[in-house]
C-alpha cells in the first residue's frame, strides 16, 4: 500500500512538473516574443558607414571631400590616416578648416583644433572625435561612424581608429 503511494506520488510529481516546466517555457517564449518584437530587423536611419575611396586618393594633410556629405575630415599624416568628426566638442557647431593656418576653427565660439584634431584654443573641452576606419578587400577605406574614438580616453591608439598607409 505504502509502495503504491510513493509510486503514485512520483507519477503525480513528474506529470505536474512536466506540465509546469513546459508551460513556463512556453509562457517565457511568449514573453520573449514581446522582447524580440521590439527589436526591428530593419531600421530606417541614415547610413552610418560609407566608402571613402583608396588611401592613395588622399594627400598628406586634411581632406575635405567628405565633409559636407558625411561630416568627416580625412586626415593623413606620418603614415597614418584617420577620420575626424566635424562636430565641435564645445557646443556641436561645425568648425572650418583653415589651410593657411593649418587649424580647424569653430565659427561659433572660437574653439581651435590642430589638424590632428587636438584642441588648443577656445572653450572646447576635448579634442575632436575620430571614427572607426578600416580597409575592405578591394583596398577601399570604410568609415564607420557608429564607433567613436576619443583621445581623452586614450582610444586613439586603438587599431581601428586609424589606417597605416
Amino acid at each position: 500500500m505504502s509502495k503504491r503511494t510513493t509510486l503514485n506520488r512520483r507519477e503525480f510529481f513528474s506529470f505536474l512538473s512536466v506540465g509546469w516546466i513546459a508551460f513556463a517555457a512556453a509562457a517565457g517564449g511568449m514573453a520573449s516574443l514581446i522582447f524580440r518584437f521590439l527589436y526591428p530587423n530593419v531600421v530606417f536611419e541614415p547610413a552610418m558607414d560609407f566608402v571613402a575611396g583608396r588611401p592613395d586618393d588622399f594627400d598628406d594633410g586634411v581632406d575635405e571631400r567628405w565633409k559636407n556629405v558625411y561630416g568627416v575630415w580625412v586626415y593623413k599624416n606620418e603614415g597614418k590616416l584617420v577620420a575626424l568628426s566635424n562636430i565641435c566638442t564645445h557646443l556641436g557647431c561645425v568648425p572650418t578648416w583653415l589651410p593657411a593656418e593649418r587649424k580647424f576653427k569653430c565659427p561659433c565660439h572660437g574653439s581651435g583644433y590642430y589638424a590632428n584634431g587636438i584642441n588648443f584654443e577656445g572653450p572646447a573641452p576635448r579634442p575632436l572625435e575620430r571614427y572607426k576606419v578600416n580597409l575592405d578587400a578591394s583596398g577601399q577605406i570604410i568609415v564607420d561612424k557608429t564607433k567613436v574614438f576619443r583621445y581623452e580616453k586614450g582610444e586613439w591608439t586603438h587599431p581601428d581608429s586609424f589606417i597605416v598607409v
Binding site: 503514485n8 506540465g19 508551460f23 516574443l33 578587400a137
Partner: protein
C-alpha cells in the same frame, strides 16, 4: 478509483491533460519562432557567402602568383636582420624609454596644472569683464587674479612645450633605431598588402561558431550577419495615391554582389549588374545604387523579400516562366500595380526621368524602338506627348497624280507589301479579320473609292525637269557614295553600302514600276518642289547626276505588280456600304436611301472614298485634300499606356496571351487584328489597326518604347533636370533627329549608321561630331548649314542641303553648344605673336609636314584633312589646341598624328630637328601652332605671304639637307 468529495475530475487526470496541453503550447511557441526565423533570403545569403569565399580564394591564389617569393624572402630576411640590430641596442632603447616614461608623468602633471590655471584664467576673465562692464569695484580684484592666472598658465604652457620638445626628440631617437625595420615592414606591406586584405576579407566569410551564434534564432537581433539590406531613396517615391512615400528597395538582400565587380560570371541573384560602372548601380556610374535604387528602373515591389514571387519578378518569356515555376514556385503577381518589367524591357523606365529626350545616351534598345515607332509612322495615328513636332509620316498625297498612276495607287493600297516587301505603308486588307469573301468585296469597293477620291482631289505638279536617259552604273555609284544610303535602303546596292541599316526614308525597290520619270528627276534635284515639308534634302546634284541616279532607280522594275489589274468598283456594294454603314447611322433607312438617291454615281464613289479615308485614318499619316490638318488622328493616345491598368487592355479571345501589359503590346504589334479572332463583329466594327509585318526584334524594341509611355509619378528632384540650355538642346536634338543627322554623323557617340559602309576607312565617311559645339564657331556653323560649302572636298559623301524651317538651325546650333557646355558667343580670335613664336610655328608646320594631308589650298595633292584656310573662321582656338593635344581622344579613326602625345612631350620627340623650339615647352608650342593655323585664313595676302615664305624656306631646307647629305658623305 474513489472520487474525492467536491471533485469532478481526478487530479491525476488533470495533471496529465495539463502536461499534454502545456507541451503542445511549448511546441506551438517554438514553431512560431522557427516560422519567423526561416526565410528564403537567408539561404541565398548563405550561398552568397560561399560564393564570395570561392571568389576570394581564387583572387588570393592569383595574388599569390603575383607576389615574387624571392622578393618576399629577401624582405623578410631584411626585417629579421633589422630586428637583430634593434635587439643589439636594447639597453639604449630601455634608457630612452625610461626617460620617456618620466617625461610622460611630467607632461601629465603639467597638463593638469595647466588645466587648472587655464580654466581659472577663463573664469576670472569672465568675472572681470562682467564686473568691468557693470562698473563694479570687484573688477580690479578679478583683473589681478586673471593676470596672475594667465601668467602662470603661460609659464606652464612653456614648460609643457619644453617637455614636449624633449619627448619628440626622444621619440625621434627611438624611431631612428627602429626606422630600418619599419621601412622594411612598409615594403613588405606594399608587396603583400593586397593579399593580406583579401585574406582578411575571406576570413570574414568563414562560418565560424560565432557566425552561427550571431545568426541563431532569437538572438539574431544583436548583431546578425544575415540581414535584410535596404536602400531608402529620398527622391524617388512609391505612389500610395493619398501620398508619395519614399521608395525602399531591399533587392540587395539577395542580389548581394550587384554592385561588386568580379561576379559577372555568377548566376542570378549572385551576379554583378551589367555595365556596372557605366550605366547603373556602381558608385561612379550614371545611376549609383544608393541614389536610384533598383525598382525605379526595373519596377516591382522592391521592399518585399518574403519569397521569390513577392517582389513581382517577371519572366522574360514562357521558357523562363516555366523554369521559375519549377525552381522558385513563382506565381503571377497578384494585386500589384507595377510588377517588374521583364528584363528585356527595362530600358522603358529610362523615359520616366529622361522625359523629353529623343535619344537617351545609354538606352540603345529604347532609342531603337522609338526610332522604329517614328519611322513606321505610328505617331501619325497615336498621339504622344513630345512627338507633336513631327510632320505626318507618310508623303503628301495632294499632288500624287504627278507621281503614280491611279491603277498603281489601288494596287498599292490593297497590298503595299506585294510591291515592296519592306514597305512601311502598313497592310489594311487581307488581314485575319477581314479576309472573309463578304468583307473582301466591301474592302475592294472601299479601296477603289479611296483611290478615286485621292486621285480626284490631287493637283498636278509640273515636273520642272525632263528625264533623260543617263548612265545607270554611274547612278548606282552616286547613290552609294553621295549619301542616299544614310536614309534609304535601295535594291541592288553593293557591299558594303547595303550594310547600312537605314530606316529614315523608304526602301527603294521597283521604282521604275511606280513613279513617273520626270517626277523622279525633279524630286532628286529639288525635293521641296514637290512637297514643301519633306525632310528629303537636296544633294546639290547636277542635272546629269540626277538623271544617272534616276536611270538606275527606274531600272528597278516590278513587272509582276505592273501587270496587276485591280478589280473594278462594284456599285451595289458601294451603295450598300454607304447606306448601311454610314447614312443610316443616324437617319432612318428611308431617308438614308433618299440621300443616296440624291447623289450622282461619281458623287457616291467620292463620298465613299472620303468616308473610307476617314474610317481607315489615311489622313493621319498623309496630307489629303479635304481633310483638315488638325483633324484628330485615328488611334488612341499613347500617353500613360506603359502604366495603364492591365484590365483596361482588351485581350479578346486570345487566352494564350498572358495578361500583362508588355505581352499585350507584343501580341498587338505582331498581329493587331488578332483581338477580333473568334469575336463575331459586323463589317463596320472590325478592328482597323493595320499590319506592319514587323519582325521579332522590331517588336521587342517597339514594346520597350511603348512601355516607356509611363504615367508614373516621379518627383522633380528624382528626374533628370535640364537647365535652360539643356532644354534648348533637347529641342535641337529633335531637329537633328528629324533631319536624321544621326544617320551620317556619330554625334557624341550616338548614331552614325552610315559608318557601317565605311568600316574600313572611317575617315572617308562623314566625320564624327564630337564636342561639336566647342569645335566650331557658331556663326560659321549657321552659315554653313544654310549654304553648304564643303570643307573636305576629297570626300565623296556629301553634306546635303536641307530646307530647314525657320528657327531650326538656331536650335541645332544651340543643341551642339549646350551639350558641349559652351556659349553661343565667342570672341573673334586675334592672333598676337610672341617673340619667336611665329618662326617656331613655321618650323613645326614644316617639320610636321602638315601640308601633306591638309593640302587644300596649298598643293592640292591627295588631301586627307580639312581645308585649313577655313580654320580661322570655322574653328574655336581652344578646340584647335585640344585637337592638337590629343586628336585620337576626339576622333578614334583620325589619321592626324599625335604630335605632342597628349601634350606631354615636346615637338622634338616627334622630330629631332624641332629641338629647342620655344624652350621645348609643349604648351607653348601648341599655342604657337594654334596661332599659326588661325593666321592661315585671316587674310588672303597674309596667306600668300606665308606660302611664299614657305616655299623659300623649303628651298632653303632642301639645299640645307643636300648640304647635310654632302657633308655626311664627306
Amino acid at each position: 478509483m474513489k472520487r474525492e468529495p467536491g471533485m469532478h475530475y481526478n487530479t491525476k487526470t488533470l495533471n496529465k491533460v495539463f502536461a499534454f496541453v502545456a507541451v503542445l503550447f511549448l511546441i506551438a511557441t517554438l514553431w512560431m519562432f522557427l516560422d519567423d526565423y526561416i526565410r528564403p533570403w537567408k539561404a541565398i545569403q548563405v550561398k552568397a557567402l560561399e560564393i564570395e569565399q570561392k571568389v576570394l580564394a581564387e583572387r588570393i591564389a592569383e595574388e599569390n602568383k603575383n607576389i615574387n617569393q624571392e622578393d618576399l624572402a629577401a624582405i623578410k630576411a631584411k626585417i629579421d636582420s633589422a630586428e637583430k640590430e634593434i635587439e643589439g641596442r636594447k639597453k639604449e632603447i630601455q634608457s630612452i624609454e625610461k626617460e620617456l616614461s618620466l617625461l610622460d608623468k611630467k607632461i601629465y602633471a603639467q597638463n593638469m596644472t595647466n588645466g587648472i590655471h587655464g580654466s581659472k584664467s577663463g573664469e576670472y576673465q569672465f568675472q572681470y569683464e562682467h564686473y568691468h562692464m557693470h562698473h563694479d569695484k570687484r573688477a580690479d580684484k578679478y583683473k589681478a587674479l586673471m593676470i596672475e592666472a594667465k601668467k602662470r598658465f603661460a609659464e606652464g604652457k612653456d614648460d609643457l612645450k619644453t617637455y614636449q620638445l624633449e619627448q619628440s626628440q626622444l621619440n625621434k631617437k627611438l624611431k631612428k633605431i627602429t626606422s630600418k625595420k619599419s621601412e622594411f615592414e612598409k615594403e613588405l606591406s606594399k608587396l603583400t598588402g593586397a593579399k593580406d586584405r583579401l585574406i582578411f576579407a575571406k576570413s570574414k566569410t568563414e562560418k565560424t561558431p560565432i557566425w552561427f551564434l550571431r545568426n541563431s534564432p532569437f538572438i539574431d537581433y544583436l548583431d546578425p550577419t544575415l540581414k535584410i539590406e535596404q536602400i531608402v531613396l529620398d527622391n524617388i517615391t512609391d505612389d500610395r495615391y493619398f501620398v508619395q512615400t519614399k521608395k525602399v528597395d531591399r533587392c540587395i538582400t539577395c542580389h548581394k554582389f550587384i554592385d561588386k565587380e568580379g561576379y559577372e560570371d555568377q548566376e542570378n541573384p549572385y551576379k554583378t549588374h551589367p555595365r556596372v560602372n557605366e550605366l547603373a548601380v556602381g558608385r561612379n556610374s550614371a545611376h549609383p545604387m544608393k541614389k536610384f535604387g533598383c525598382t525605379g528602373c526595373h519596377g516591382g515591389e522592391g521592399h518585399r523579400v518574403f519569397d521569390f514571387s513577392a517582389p513581382a519578378h517577371m519572366p522574360q518569356n514562357a521558357e523562363q516562366e516555366k523554369e521559375w515555376k519549377k525552381k522558385y514556385h513563382w506565381h503571377e503577381p497578384h494585386k500589384i500595380p507595377e510588377p517588374m518589367l521583364p528584363l528585356q524591357y527595362t530600358e522603358a523606365s529610362c523615359v520616366k526621368c529622361h522625359s523629353g529626350e529623343e535619344r537617351i545616351g545609354l538606352s540603345q534598345k529604347l532609342n531603337k524602338g522609338r526610332k522604329l515607332l517614328e519611322n513606321y509612322g505610328c505617331y501619325g495615328c497615336h498621339k504622344a506627348d513630345g512627338w507633336e513636332h513631327l510632320k505626318k509620316p507618310g508623303p503628301s498625297l495632294t499632288k500624287i497624280n504627278s507621281k503614280v498612276s491611279l491603277e498603281f495607287m489601288k494596287n498599292w493600297i490593297w497590298s503595299p507589301h506585294t510591291f515592296n516587301p519592306n514597305s512601311r505603308m502598313p497592310a489594311f486588307f487581307g488581314q485575319s479579320n477581314n479576309s472573309k469573301p463578304e468583307f473582301m468585296i466591301k474592302n475592294i469597293a472601299e479601296v477603289n473609292a479611296m483611290a478615286e477620291y485621292i486621285h480626284e482631289k490631287s493637283k498636278t505638279s509640273n515636273a520642272f525637269a525632263k528625264y533623260e536617259q543617263g548612265n545607270a552604273e554611274k547612278g548606282k555609284e552616286l547613290i552609294q557614295t553621295v549619301g542616299c544610303i544614310a536614309c534609304h535602303q535601295i535594291e541592288g546596292i553593293d557591299e558594303p553600302y547595303n550594310k547600312v541599316n537605314s530606316l529614315k526614308g523608304p526602301y527603294l525597290t521597283g521604282t521604275g514600276s511606280k513613279v513617273d520619270a520626270n517626277w523622279l528627276v525633279s524630286w532628286l534635284i529639288k525635293p521641296s518642289h514637290y512637297q514643301k515639308d519633306t525632310v528629303m534634302p537636296s544633294f546639290r546634284l547636277s542635272k546629269s547626276e540626277a538623271n544617272d541616279i534616276a536611270t538606275y532607280l527606274l531600272g528597278l522594275k516590278n513587272p509582276k505588280f505592273e501587270g496587276l489589274k485591280f478589280e473594278p468598283l462594284n456599285k451595289t456594294v458601294r451603295d450598300e456600304i454607304l447606306v448601311g454603314d454610314y447614312f443610316s447611322q443616324f437617319d432612318p433607312e428611308k431617308s438614308a436611301r433618299a440621300k443616296l438617291n440624291s447623289m450622282s454615281d461619281r458623287e457616291r464613289t467620292l463620298e465613299l472614298g472620303r468616308l473610307s479615308i476617314g474610317k481607315y485614318g489615311c489622313y493621319s499619316c498623309h496630307t489629303i485634300e479635304g481633310f483638315a490638318e488638325d483633324r484628330p488622328p485615328i488611334g488612341p493616345e499613347w500617353n500613360g499606356i506603359g502604366s495603364k491598368f492591365v484590365h483596361q487592355f482588351g485581350f479578346g479571345q486570345q487566352h494564350h496571351i498572358p495578361h500583362r501589359r508588355d505581352a499585350w503590346m507584343y501580341a498587338h504589334l505582331e498581329n493587331p487584328r488578332r483581338w477580333d479572332i473568334g469575336v463575331p463583329k459586323p463589317f463596320k466594327d472590325l478592328n482597323r489597326m493595320p499590319n506592319f509585318y514587323l519582325n521579332k526584334e522590331e517588336i521587342d524594341a517597339m514594346t520597350t518604347a511603348l512601355l516607356g509611355f509611363n504615367a508614373q509619378f516621379i518627383p522633380m528632384a528624382g528626374k533628370k533636370n535640364h537647365d535652360a540650355a539643356g532644354k534648348l538642346a533637347l529641342e535641337g536634338m529633335k531637329v537633328a533627329n528629324k533631319y536624321n543627322c544621326y544617320g551620317c554623323h556619330k554625334i557624341d557617340g550616338m548614331g552614325g549608321d552610315i559608318g557601317a559602309a565605311y568600316s574600313d576607312d572611317l575617315n572617308a565617311g562623314p566625320p564624327w561630331l564630337v564636342d561639336q559645339g566647342h569645335r566650331v564657331n557658331p556663326d560659321w556653323f549657321q552659315n554653313f548649314l544654310q549654304n553648304i560649302s564643303p570643307i573636305r572636298p576629297y570626300l565623296q559623301v556629301r553634306m546635303p542641303s536641307f530646307d530647314y524651317l525657320p528657327g531650326e538651325v538656331d536650335k541645332l546650333i544651340t543643341y551642339f553648344n549646350a551639350s558641349s557646355g559652351v556659349s553661343n558667343y565667342i570672341n573673334k580670335p586675334k592672333v598676337v605673336w610672341e617673340a619667336g613664336e611665329k618662326e617656331a610655328a613655321r618650323k613645326m608646320w614644316d617639320g610636321f609636314a602638315c601640308v601633306s594631308c591638309h593640302s587644300i589650298g596649298f598643293n592640292n595633292e591627295e588631301a586627307q584633312g580639312p581645308n585649313l584656310h577655313k580654320a580661322a573662321s570655322r574653328l574655336r582656338p581652344t578646340w584647335i589646341k585640344k585637337w592638337l593635344k590629343n586628336p585620337l581622344a576626339i576622333q578614334l579613326y583620325t589619321p592626324m598624328p599625335d604630335f605632342w602625345e597628349g601634350g606631354t612631350k615636346a615637338a622634338k620627340e616627334y622630330d629631332e630637328s624641332l629641338a629647342g623650339l620655344l624652350g621645348d615647352d609643349p604648351e607653348r608650342q601648341m599655342n604657337a601652332m594654334v596661332k599659326y593655323v588661325l593666321s592661315l585664313g585671316n587674310v588672303k595676302t597674309e596667306m600668300k605671304k606665308i606660302e611664299s615664305a614657305a616655299q623659300a624656306q623649303k628651298a632653303n631646307t632642301e639645299t640645307a639637307k643636300k648640304e647635310d647629305k654632302t657633308e655626311d658623305k664627306k
